[in-house]
């Protein structure tokens, strides 16, 4: 995937927010990544170490919260957790492709000083 592009964008958003708040350093970034987003957390960490160099976020920590994917079952009118895009509802065994969670690529918050 394009983990470096994604990490570069996360860092840009974090630094813009920090500067607007009058901070001079970024201490921590917290990302929310869906289990079916296609983004690999290890690759994000690797990219993070590279892109922060020489910026106000150098030395910052990266926290990645994984969001477990969930599908919506229209028959049961309820969600169920899933590992793939297309899954059988464990209750009624209907196949659902309506993913409600798991594709997230978000920046949650940033700690600054």
């Amino acid at each position: 995937m394009h983990e470096v592009s994604i990490m570069t964008e996360a860092l840009r958003m974090a630094m813009d927010a920090a500067k607007s708040a009058g901070a001079t350093r970024v201490l921590k970034l917290r990302l929310r990544i869906g289990s079916l987003s296609g983004v690999v957390p290890e690759a994000l960490r690797f990219a993070f170490d590279v892109v922060v160099q020489g910026t106000m976020a150098e030395g910052a920590t990266l926290e990645i919260e994984t969001v477990r994917a969930a599908c919506w079952c229209a028959t049961c009118q309820a969600e169920f957790e899933c590992e793939n895009f297309f899954n059988e509802c464990p209750r009624c065994h209907d196949v659902s492709g309506e993913l409600r969670r798991g594709r997230e690529m978000e920046i949650a918050d940033v700690e600054t000083s």
Partner: protein, 255 residues
């Protein structure tokens, strides 16, 4: 990080048509620090592209143009499919193409043989097109002289899935020489497609293509997609696709 596609380099090498573009750098004044604080952002990392894509969509809509984003693995037949589509539509719908590749303008040259306007984007190391590249390339086309804009994405079934370009229809190609399980291997791309086209059907027998299995896999992953089976080379099955395209363009025109 994906070492093959190297898509992290952020587009500094991107060339659109005859021009290169440079990124602008903004400088901000820094205030004073106020000790440790947590800033809540809760924003999508794809937000910038999503905004630019919606801007493209609004612009294309105002131009009453049908916009296709054609995606597939390398070698599935995107260029031939687009060239034949444009050539067969002829005067009934005027087609223009934006084509993305890491390097060379070979595809653009092949497309120009259909007598249509083509803008090449060479992405350098970037493995997908984004909404910004498309906006800049579209500015180099005479859009008022077009009814359909086809964007031929970089041959890649992974990264382009996440980049909305502002298209009306995402068209994914699967050729009979590829595995029937491609939709299962690349679900985000196949799931996001509005149209799935099985190409190179004239080679199906030689390739030992299991049509039922491919259709079952497509129906599973791209269950909402319109499916076409054709050969761009022989023209077999292409009429149904062209009829569909004409109807879609009419629908855009009526919006």
């Amino acid at each position: 990080m994906c070492q093959e596609c190297g898509c992290g380099s952020g587009g500094d090498d991107v060339k659109i048509g005859a021009h290169t573009h440079e990124h602008e750098h903004h400088h901000h004044d820094h205030g004073h620090s106020h000790g440790k604080q947590t800033l809540n952002l809760n924003r999508s990392l794809m937000e910038k592209n999503a905004l630019l894509a919606e801007r493209n969509r609004g612009f294309f809509r105002a131009k009453k143009m049908l916009v296709l984003n054609v995606v597939s693995s390398p070698g599935s037949g995107k260029t031939t499919f687009i060239r034949e589509t444009a050539a067969r539509l002829g005067a009934s719908l005027r087609v223009g193409v934006i084509v993305g590749d890491l390097a060379t303008d070979n595809d653009a040259a092949r497309l120009r043989t259909a007598g249509i306007p083509v803008i090449q984007i060479t992405t350098g190391t970037v493995c997908h097109l984004d909404a910004d590249m498309v906006a800049k390339a579209a500015a180099q086309l005479d859009l008022d002289a077009l009814d359909v804009l086809v964007i031929e994405n970089v041959g890649n079934l992974v990264c382009p899935a996440d980049y909305d370009l502002g298209e009306d229809l995402r068209v994914v190609l699967l050729s009979v020489t590829e595995g029937e399980d491609k939709p299962l291997k690349y679900p985000p791309m196949f799931h996001s497609a509005n149209v799935a086209v099985i190409t190179k059907c004239d080679m199906a027998v030689a390739a030992g293509f299991n049509r039922d299995l491919a259709l079952a896999n497509l129906n599973r992953v791209s269950h909402h997609a319109q499916i076409f089976e054709l050969s761009s080379k022989t023209g077999e099955g292409i009429e149904a696709w062209l009829d569909y395209l004409i109807k879609q363009r009419t629908a855009v025109n009526d919006k």
